[in-house]
Amino acid sequence: MKILKYSLDLYPKIELNIYLRFTLVIISFLWLMFNLMPLFPQAFSDFIFLFPYLHIMYSPVCHQELQKLICNEFGCTFLCARCTGIYAGVFIFSVVLLLKTSMPAYAIKYLFIAGIPIIVDVIASSISIYTYSKLAAFITGTIFGSTAFYYFYIGIQNWFFEKKRQVV
């Protein structure tokens, strides 16, 4: 089987600073938590004045179609199930990176492969092969989000390596 790792000779493993990794966790957590706030209005009652702003803030990121939002008895998320999945994937992977300090670089084609479930789900639900499922949308989003964040992390890892090489 073809070995799919590459470029480790050019960009050897380099550990990102714990503070930077922790910052990535905090940012992804806040982004996800703001989205989930309407599901728990009593817990965030002091921040309810932010809700209209958050609705606008998330609007360029997502279509925010009412029937595709994740809802409970109190309210609905600002983002649809798929976008919530994407950012949940980002958050989950950022937590994984807190524990696993460095990552090998895999070929970028896996990013496109991770996008296939989303495309299949969108097409299948659009042409009524099956009805739209928030769970399917969430899971496909999570797969893509975590993979995209992995490549973002690898990029940042490369950046630090380049900076270190320049200093040396």
Binding site: P52, M57, I108, W159
Partner: protein, 167 residues
Amino acid sequence: MKKFLPSFVSGFGAGVLSVVPVIKTFACCLIIPAAATLSILLYQRAENVDEKIETGKAIFLGVFTGLFAALFATTFEIFITLFTKQNDLIAAFGNMQSMINSFPLDDHLKQEVIDLINMVVTELKTTGFSVIYSFTLLFNNLVINSIFGLAGGVIGLQIINAKYKNR
């Protein structure tokens, strides 16, 4: 100025697409990262670079693509609202009102929030312009587009650099 040109061109394109109905819902997720990747390709062409590009350069191009896209998108959005007196906030006001009313919170607090949005919506419907709305939109676009531009630059660079992996 030359170093900003690739970001300026792709940022302008992204800014235009960001105000086109339907397409604009993909503004952050797809258009801005794609524009950031395009700016790296434009930089490669303009500078005649045929080797791996450094991540720092991609971050620079990505962030500035996001910032230019935010400036253009906000300007276009403000002008469109000024002439049509219609925008997403006005369209979503009904939903927002019912969402806030459904929260199990103090009526006085809910009314204050609704009054604040109502003030902005009324201003937009009558004059087509609201300082609060314009500032919110600009701030929002600058922050979000620069973050997505950065991410797009970093990930897009790996797609572009993949062809140099054996060099």
